[in-house]
Subunit: 227 residues, 2 copies
């Protein structure tokens, strides 16, 4: 799928509209993302949205793709060490950080807000297709979770019969944790990470076959690394 970004650092009119929509989304939620307001952000009339995207639904799609691209970049930046579980937990912490820093965008990407709930056609049954979305950017982002699970199995720290189904387990756990934290159920100081997210990761890892003490040490190492 063609990117709206023309080259690194450059910015096309389409990209400026996408960035404006993301700013409005972050500041005012999905209701704030209206053609008139998005266009005004870049000093244009509503017509700009129709000229460049044909309408709001395709602009929203471009926003979702941009969200997956950012998530993909964030997850790709997690370096690999010789501790596959530490790497997997670090990936989970990076996922959480990206979701919390861009909570409105995160909810839009995963079909939770009204505006995106109707765009269900992009979402696919990952248990059949191996990817949660038809969007290439989303496929790449989910691929980091699958790769982390495969590395756990390859390093002998777990038994994983089917990597994408196992990745779906990790994804369910992190997605649920992140949405509960965003909603305020774990307070505002981030103590849910140490009290819920890391113990959950350790229990899942031990459940997949890792040694509990080794899993706890890897989780502590990931927390220090994310520091």
């Amino acid at each position: 799928m063609a990117s709206v970004r023309d080259n690194e650092g450059g910015s096309t009119p389409k990209q400026r509209l996408v960035d404006a929509a993301i700013r409005l989304l972050a500041a005012g939620g999905p209701e704030a993302v209206q053609a008139r307001r998005v266009a005004a952000e870049v000093g244009a009339s509503s017509m700009a949205v129709y000229t460049h995207f044909g309408g709001m639904p395709d602009l929203v799609d471009a926003v979702v793709r941009e969200g997956f691209e950012r998530l993909d970049r964030r997850l790709a930046a997690v370096s690999r060490s010789d501790d596959a579980l530490c790497d997997a937990v670090t990936l989970g912490l990076a996922y959480r950080a990206e979701a919390l820093e861009n909570s409105q965008l995160y909810r839009l990407m995963f079909g939770i807000t009204a505006v995106s709930a109707s765009r269900r056609g992009q979402r696919t049954d990952l248990l059949g297709t191996g990817s949660p979305t038809e969007l290439e950017e989303g496929r790449r982002a989910f691929g980091h979770l699958v790769a982390a699970v495969e590395r756990l199995a390859a390093s002998g720290r777990g038994t994983v019969p089917e990597p994408s189904a196992a990745a779906a387990q990790l994804w369910s756990a992190v997605h649920g944790y992140v949405l509960l934290e965003i909603a305020g159920f774990f307070g505002d100081e981030g103590h849910g990470v140490e009290q819920v997210l890391l113990p959950l990761a350790v229990n899942l890892a031990a459940g997949l076959g890792d040694d509990r003490a080794a899993a706890e040490e890897s989780a502590r190492r990931a927390l220090r690394r994310a520091g």
Copy 2:
């Protein structure tokens, strides 16, 4: 907190407005829940909403309380056997069924839709208070998860240092799974239950210290029981 239900089976004007709001929510999403439309459903003018609730925010609160009450009843109906893990998994399956059957209400209850995201005052840090909400109905619903975790520990099937933090792990996993299934990432045939939710439950149970084969048998038993 006083219930809007006057007695079993009876229905007050307040309860009729709440029921109407829930029907509109289910059919048209949060945007459909407007004073005029809710009142029209019960053959009244918008004024009825102001007379009985003082305005839409308090009506939305009453809808959220009703949602927790229904979830509480659904979870309370799960009978107890001598297999504490089977009971915990059955509880998770009942939670999933309630969420999927009332997906708009579920999202409203957990602060995911715009209309509820602003009512954050009701939500509390469950790691500090032991409950995710100030609402008595929500406290009772969450109590079923805590009780299930305590029974696991009491029956020697897991080590649980802090029941409400452990319940928060289970809740994260089920909440995330349910929202991904509602969004369409696990298809429409419910195969996510066997491919993701139950393996996740088994891994968590094994991680908490249960024997893996025993956990698998309990999960299979729960599936047959729910079937």
